[in-house]
Amino acid sequence: MKMDILKYTKEHNQFRERLSAFLAKEITPFVDQWEQDHIVPKSAWQKTGKAGFLCPSITPEYGGIGGDFLYSVIVAEEFSHTAHSGLAASLHSDVVVPYIDSFGSKEQKEKYLPGCVSGDIITAIAMTEPDAGSDVAGMKTTAVEQGDQVVINGSKTFISNGINCDLLLLAAIDPKVANRHQAVSLYLVEDKTPGFKRGRQLDKMGWNSQDTAELFFSDCRIPKTNRLGEPGSGFLQLMMKLQQERLVCAMGAVFAAERIMEFAVDYCKNTILKGKPLVRSQAVQFAIVEMTTEVKLGRTFMEKLCADHMEGENIIIETSMAKYWTTDMLNRIAERSMDLCGESALLESNIMARTKRDVRVMSIFAGTNEIMKGIAAKFMGM
């Protein structure tokens, strides 16, 4: 029997089957419409939550199932079959909500977590700023504590779920603290808080079903109790959560690459050119073998990192490497698959065109791949 790096139990497998059936019925049929609408209806989030597929890591106390990280892997893998990014379940469940779960007070958790699990609260994380990009230390949005309140001023951009979000995890700095890394705190900002305004939804190369937006804060006041943890602990909190964020990116990249390969192999087996299926061309065969090899390398590495991550290991170097390598790999594969599809890949009716547009962002978001390499170099002592 082949050696399994990730050990799924019967419960995991049943969860996967339920999810797969749910997606086929409630999500996939609507994706084309959402891509045209440039947004996913909130009701879809709620359906997903009510069905038990959001935030599986949250304890039953707050409505979750208290599952291990394998549930997150399963969600990411099954969602890859829907070939869309609008209903960003991994972002919500495995990137944003864990901040509240790990660093939130009991009151914050009681207030927000059940809604996050049920899909009534859609979250977003607001880090990136127009002038700062991946550079946390260059952040300009300020949060000044005044009595029981915090006054927020500034703007954020490229925020996924920016239109749909009901709750925002916002990073801002205290302008009075000189050391930029000690100046950052994370805040929970609710939708409809006065002074918090959504900017335009951004027109992107891809991810058309995803509502990415600019956000503006003008004397936006939130209660001080909406700070996550102690003042100035934001940078540390981010550092603690980035490992999982990068791993989630790597998972998404590997799963997306697997979906592409399924499509490409199928296309090349079923498309006849000069009387022969494309796969009879040696160049096509080699391309498919090379791409498949890269995907397998990526999957094995990613699975190994998931296992280490579940053991609580510090694998910041490896996850930075995995994030850059798997997303670059995904982009290579998305493009090479287009080459295999020839001119049919130029039509948007061919999934390859959308896929290539969609995956391009992955080597940019969550810290560009250049940032990833810089981080790895730093932690390798260079």
């Binding site: 190369m205 050119l273 001119e343 391009r360």
Partner: protein
């Protein structure tokens, strides 16, 4: 050696000035979204002689060469790849009329192309995957003074009825090889029996709609035969030589345009208290991009130069098309990366340059097809 002459430099400058003056980012974004052709700019470009510059003056062309046509395509695409492609391809297919048709047909068609009165499109492929000469089924039957066409074509750049289509047809018997049974026929877009079905959005070049065209007993005069009956295969090869040089030129401009935008951006964008341009990795990326553009330019110009001297070199042309299109794809892709999150936004333009570049790479034979051509020629006969 290696330098353009004064007239070429002037044409280059004129094309650049025209594009800078007329093209507009917001208009482009709007037309791309709506998939509409830049009619007004096309007319102006035609008025100034930018359309059909390689056709003889007797047909209102510029009497110049493919090198000059390429310089215009490059300049246009450098300023805006989508607009540039739309204008460069306004008369696609008419090149075959100019090279192969008899004088009557040329006089009928080419002046209108050069004046921007009609467009032209090619109707070659019958499968979504692309052209496969062994499976061309669209038939053209000579009936006295007429030709009757039946069949279906895909990937046709289409702008409705006000133009002509160059249709690759089977005029020989079913079992004849493509080499002696294909012919090119010019068909007016407003002919009875043509049905146009929009193919929907494309990855790029969206100012030109693509369509599926069906021909049902479409009848045109026999004088609409372009070139010789049964010689379509060889005419197609020669047409591909010319159109691949123009595609390489478009890609070259697209690459240059993406590079220019990247250089501008990194000089003003700060990260970690330094300009992006000050990071060694940025410098190296720019160095690689600039080198790719330089190489694409050299080989594209050389291919055009030889074509105009009557020494068209199919191997070199395939190399030029492959090199230049790859340069465009890679340079635009790296530009997106240098722009970071902003690069993923339509506003940044570079993501569109990437999409248009990929079109250039996949059309008229993807890399594998070019490598088949080059490899076979390099190897030659095997004992």
């Amino acid at each position: 050696m290696f330098e353009l002459d004064r007239s070429q430099i002037e044409i280059q400058k004129a094309a650049r000035d025209f594009a800078r003056g007329e093209f507009d980012k917001n208009l482009t974004l709007e037309l791309e979204e709506k998939r509409e052709y830049p009619e007004k700019i096309w007319k102006k470009a035609a008025d100034l002689g930018f359309i059909g510059i390689q056709f003889s003056e007797q047909y209102l062309g510029g009497g110049l060469g493919v090198l000059e046509a390429g310089l215009i395509a490059e300049a246009f695409c450098c300023i805006d790849s989508t607009m540039g492609m739309a204008l460069t391809l306004a008369g696609i297919g008419s090149e075959a009329v100019f090279r192969f048709a008899d004088n009557g047909l040329k006089e009928k068609i080419l002046p209108k192309i050069c004046e921007g009165d009609i467009f032209s499109g090619i109707a070659f492929s019958e499968t979504d995957h692309g052209i496969d000469l062994s499976s061309i089924h669209t038939s053209a039957v000579f009936t006295g003074d007429n030709i009757v066409i039946n069949g279906e074509k895909t990937h046709v750049a289409n702008r409705g009825t006000k133009g002509v289509y160059l249709v690759l047809c089977k005029t020989g018997l079913k079992d004849d090889t493509p080499k002696n049974s294909l012919s090119m026929v010019l068909v007016e877009g407003n002919k009875k029996g043509i049905t146009i079905t929009d193919s929907g959005k494309k990855l790029g070049a969206n100012m030109m709609k693509s369509a599926r065209l069906t021909f049902e007993n479409v009848t045109v005069p026999a004088t609409n035969l372009v070139g010789k009956d049964g010689k379509g295969f060889f005419q197609l090869e020669k047409f591909h030589d010319e159109i691949k040089i123009l595609t390489a030129s478009q890609a070259l401009g697209t690459a240059q345009g993406a590079l220019d935008r990247a250089v501008r951006y990194i000089k003003q964008r700060e990260q970690f208290n330094r300009k992006l341009a000050q990071f060694q990795i940025t410098k190296h990326k720019i160095a690689q991009m600039a080198t790719k553009v330089e190489l694409a330019r050299l080989i594209t110009y050389k291919a055009a130069f030889l074509f105009d001297k009557g020494k068209a070199d199919t191997v070199l042309i395939s190399m030029a098309k492959m090199t230049s299109a790859r340069a465009a794809v890679e340079v635009a892709d790296e530009a997106i990366q240098l722009f970071g999150g902003y690069g993923y936004m339509k506003e940044s333009e570079v993501e569109r340059f990437f999409r248009d570049a990929k079109i250039a790479e996949l059309c008229f034979g993807n890399q594998a097809v070019q490598q088949d051509i080059i490899g076979e020629a390099m190897i030659g006969k095997i004992k």
